[in-house]
């Protein structure tokens, strides 16, 4: 019953390093009104691997496929050398036999049970004294021993997260999937739980796939980050490599930047996390401060700025936190529904969105001299499409 599952399946258990701890190649299509496809291939080592992406990027689908809750159309999934899914050889282990721990975003605690009953649920195969011993040890490790007899309805949010983690970890999973389990928590509670989780994994040494769309969590947890977008892996690497890399231009265009310009890096300020780029266009050139990304002086980038992120001023603004204040002249004002789209000529031609009320109170009209105000972090750097 408790033999190592790799041995049960006759796979090379003596040399788990022969294969990555989690090997994952998944293709899955969802037909329907909004067709959506996931097509990813990656490997994850022991420790935290962050799956980062907007909602709808395919993160949860990916976890469901690994856990066995959703059947991929094709691919291969192996955990510590043990194949749990392989479309070419027809292997598809049921969920209950995969030894994959999964903590859902909703936690999915059994509402009719106490905290202790929840935690011991997955230990049915053990004799009752051993089950009690392990349950107690896990409740203590996650600092919820005093809640054991309480119904999970009657405990706080942070305590529920701890119960959900303990319930999953007590079964000794060979892979842990965490689908934003800490999203609803305040920062101190979150970092306490993460510490306890990291402490636990120091002895277990299993891969942990951690889904989030919070940049802070990526830097706090990540040894490795996978960025997902529209069902595909955009980038993979350390948090620093991945999160400071410029976006692909195609992606940025999809994300709706009305203004995209060529720019060349002029100076770097690594200590401030910014750099200065020169924007060139028909009307000359202007310097603009942007967030720091990889690439030295002289590197060419594209800069994307959303029309709604630009402010217009009719007098030169002073004492402002925004770092970029660029003079220009209004070329045209077009009304679109309840919004005004202004084209402003400075070194380049920029599109700016404002409200009808803003146009009227500033008495904006074609030919008027204005100043564009752009925050450093409203400038998104992209690699040029190749």
């Amino acid at each position: 019953m408790n033999a190592h599952p790799a041995i049960q399946n006759g796979v090379d258990a003596a040399n788990p390093a022969a294969e990555a701890r989690l090997g994952c190649r998944i293709q899955k299509r969802f037909a329907g009104q909004q067709e959506f496809a996931v097509d990813v291939s990656f490997e994850a080592a022991t420790g935290f691997t962050i799956l980062f992406g907007a909602s709808g990027a395919g993160k949860t689908t990916l976890l469901d496929c690994v856990a066995g809750l959703t059947r991929p159309d094709g691919g291969r999934i192996s955990i510590g050398g043990r194949v749990v899914f392989d479309s070419s050889s027809g292997v598809n282990l049921p969920v209950a036999e995969r030894h994959v721990g999964y903590v859902f975003q909703s936690l999915a605690l059994f509402p009719h049970m106490t905290a202790e009953q929840n935690v011991s649920y997955g230990l049915k195969h053990l004799p009752s004294n051993e089950r009690r011993r392990r349950t107690t040890a896990m409740l203590q490790a996650f600092r919820i021993a005093h809640l054991g007899g309480r119904n999970v309805r009657d405990i706080s949010g942070g305590e529920r997260q701890r119960v959900a983690l303990a319930r999953t970890l007590v079964t000794d999973p060979q892979l842990l999937l965490l689908d934003e389990p800490l999203a609803a928590l305040d920062a101190p509670t979150k970092s306490h739980i993460i510490n306890d989780l990291q402490q636990w994994n120091r002895t277990q040494g299993i891969p942990i796939l951690y889904v989030t769309h919070s940049r802070e969590e990526v830097f706090a947890l990540g040894e490795s980050v996978i960025v997902l977008e529209a069902g595909r892996i955009l980038r993979q690497g350390t948090p620093h490599e991945v999160m400071t890399a410029p976006l692909q231009e195609t992606v940025a265009q999809l994300a709706g930047f009305e203004n995209i310009f060529d720019a060349v890096v002029e100076a770097l300020s690594p200590d401030r996390g910014t750099m200065t780029c020169r924007l060139s266009g028909d009307g000359g050139s202007t310097a603009i401060e942007t967030p720091l990304v990889r690439g030295g002086v002289g590197t060419s980038f594209r800069i994307g700025i959303r029309a709604g992120d630009i402010l217009l001023a009719t007098v030169l603004p002073r004492a402002l936190s925004a770092r970029n204040i660029i003079p220009g002249r209004i070329l045209s004002l077009d009304q679109r529904d309840v919004m005004i789209s202004a084209r402003v000529q400075c070194a380049v031609e920029m599109e700016v969105h404002l409200t009808l009320a803003a146009r009227d109170s500033l008495q904006l009209e074609t030919g008027r001299e204005v100043w564009l105000v752009i925050k450093t972090h409203s400038c998104h750097l992209m690699q040029r499409a190749t």
Binding site: G101, Y102, F110, R153, T171
Partner: protein, 226 residues
């Protein structure tokens, strides 16, 4: 003439037997309806719901034919027991089970379907089989639906008339139920007896439904805490 307690006792026995059988039979059917993704599932759902709309005489007629000596089932039963199923208590139970099937299956299936799928998924990732998941998670969270289904089958069987008359006839102590008894009394102009019996049945069914709904109230108060 006073209440005929023998018919009352027989009716209660019938209702009890039907409820127990429907719990056993209805649970797997309801589970399948709630969780199957078979594309023709609606056909099964329609068949299960048929007794809700069919006149009891139509259902009773077909059950009578199916139980009779000319049908394979009837012949098999005769070879087993030596007598026909029609006009026996067992035949009555079979007819009543079919007649009350939707009253059990629909509340069962509705309550299974309302169990959060993530709980079922969580149970599976914790290594539990489907059977264990059903008994430890799905069924306990469906208790109000299970109670409703069982109580409705019980009450519905207590009050049935047409199917009983078609399948069971009117044999005192064997197939004469309270509703048939009332009909007989009215036919015989025993209005006082009919009234007493009808009133007793009315009170009994009311009390039963009252228990069900008060139970529901408690359950919904409990669930709303979450």
């Amino acid at each position: 003439m006073a209440i005929d307690w023998q018919t009352f006792s027989l009716t209660l026995q019938l209702a009890f037997a039907v409820s127990v059988l429907l719990l056993l039979l209805g649970l797997p059917i309801a589970y399948w309806i709630a969780f199957s993704s078979w594309r023709w599932k609606f056909l099964v759902q329609a068949v299960v719901a048929l007794p809700l709309v069919l006149p009891p005489t139509v259902l009773g007629f077909y059950v009578l034919v199916a139980l009779g000596p000319r049908s394979p089932l009837g012949r098999w039963w005769i070879s087993l027991t030596g007598h026909t199923l029609a006009f026996t208590f067992s035949g009555l139970v079979i007819g009543s089970v079919i007649y009350s099937l939707p009253f059990a299956v629909q509340p069962f299936a509705a309550s299974f379907a309302s169990v959060d799928r993530k709980l079922i998924a969580a149970s599976a990732t914790l290594g539990a089989s489907r059977l264990r998941t059903f008994f430890r998670v799905v069924a306990p969270l469906s208790v109000p639906g299970l109670v409703t289904g069982a109580a409705l089958s019980f009450a519905h069987t207590m009050g049935e008339f047409g199917v009983v008359l078609m399948v069971g006839g009117n044999i005192p102590g064997v197939t004469r139920t309270v509703s048939i008894d009332i009909y007989d009394r009215v036919q015989a102009a025993d209005y006082a007896g009919a009234n007493q019996t009808a009133l007793a049945l009315l009170v009994l069914c009311f009390v039963l439904l009252m228990i069900v709904y008060s139970f529901h109230r408690k359950a919904s108060v409990l669930n709303s805490v979450q």
